[in-house]
């Protein structure tokens, strides 16, 4: 049985990682826009982002624009590799269960 990465293997975190993987390398997405795209509550999104940040999968950049604090998010290289691994593991499981 192939192991699925427990950090990504949760609906909310998988959706976050999948969404951030759509950004080009070198791009970051603001927290409110990610929240809107995923239709998640701010609290829920923050909780899962913290877990992803702790695992080193998501890079969180806090900055100020016109004196307003803004948080930008991006998938790290580790996060991209983890998502690729998850994809392979999942297709192995789904392929094997048929």
């Amino acid at each position: 049985m192939t192991e699925l990465d427990p950090v990504i293997h949760a609906p909310a975190r998988l959706r976050i990682v999948v969404a951030l993987a759509e950004l080009d390398r070198g791009d970051v997405l603001a927290f409110p826009r990610l929240r809107e795209v995923l239709a998640m509550t701010a609290g829920n999104l923050s909780t899962h982002l913290r877990k992803l940040e702790d695992a080193g999968y998501v890079v969180v950049t806090k900055t100020h624009e016109r004196r307003t604090p803004v948080t930008y998010l991006a998938l790290s290289d580790t996060g991209r590799t983890a998502l690729d691994g998850y994809r392979h593991a999942l297709s192995a499981i789904l392929g094997g269960s048929r």
């Binding site: 699925l4 293997h9 949760a10 609906p11 909310a12 975190r13 998988l14 959706r15 999948v18 969404a19 993987a21 759509e22 950004l23 080009d24 390398r25 070198g26 791009d27 970051v28 997405l29 603001a30 409110p32 826009r33 990610l34 795209v37 995923l38 239709a39 998640m40 509550t41 609290g43 829920n44 909780t47 899962h48 930008y72 991006a74 994809r87 999942l90 297709s91 499981i93 789904l94 269960s97």
Partner: protein, 215 residues
């Protein structure tokens, strides 16, 4: 809002649901980049109808010049297309920063610079009492050549061959239109130019917007 309650987020995830979430990535990516169907579509309509109006009024006029109302329609359609483009691209790129935002703003500015210069050149030709037949050809072929060239440059930036082909097609049609002279150049730019843009919009629709261009 979310279909997934927070207390379930750490619960075991059905592999089939996981596969579905992975498959939704493309749809999310589309929401973060401009829809080429909207951009090609609005410009296609503007060119098809606008140049069409210039052609129908010019071909029946004794001086082979389009009617004032035709120019009004043409410029109103172009202005609408500019506004739709700016609003759409701005909305889709909200919250995005980094490399592609830099590329996008440089590309946007290149349009503004190019068309400001086109305006200056045409203004200078107007003041130099240029023959109306010459003015008609240059004022149509020059901006269309710039559009075709900037499409090819954009396609090179985003590595999109279908967008490149559309740019090359428009540039070539500007040349062919110029060779046909007045007022046929308007017909060429309406049918081949505007039609080409509409075909491009339709092709993007059929292709399901994957491998999308980012005009």
């Amino acid at each position: 809002m979310t279909s997934i309650p927070s207390h379930d987020d750490d619960a075991a995830l059905d592999p089939r649901l996981a596969a579905q979430i992975l498959g939704d990535g493309g749809r999310i990516g589309d929401r973060l980049s401009p829809d080429p169907r909207i951009l090609f579509g609005v410009w296609g309509i503007a060119w098809f109808v606008g140049f069409g109006a210039l052609w129908t009024t010019a071909r029946t006029a004794t001086d082979v010049q389009p009617a004032g109302w035709a120019f009004a329609v043409f410029y109103a359609l172009l202005a609408t297309a500019v506004v739709v483009t700016i609003v759409h691209v701005t909305r889709r790129s909200r919250g995005l920063r980094g490399t592609s935002a830099t590329t996008g703003s440089m590309y946007g500015w290149s349009w503004l610079v190019a068309f400001t210069v086109v305006g200056l050149v045409l203004g200078a030709l107007g003041r130099a009492d240029t023959d109306p037949a010459v003015m008609g050809i240059v004022s149509t072929a020059l901006p269309c050549l710039v559009v075709g060239t900037l499409y090819m440059a954009g396609a090179a930036t985003y590595r999109d061959w279908s967008w490149f082909a559309l740019g090359a097609w428009i540039a070539v049609m500007a040349g062919i239109g110029a060779m046909t002279g007045m007022p046929s150049i308007y017909l060429v730019m309406s049918v081949a130019g505007g039609g080409g843009l509409l075909v491009g919009a339709f092709a993007c629709h059929v292709a399901g917007r994957r491998g999308r261009g980012r005009p």
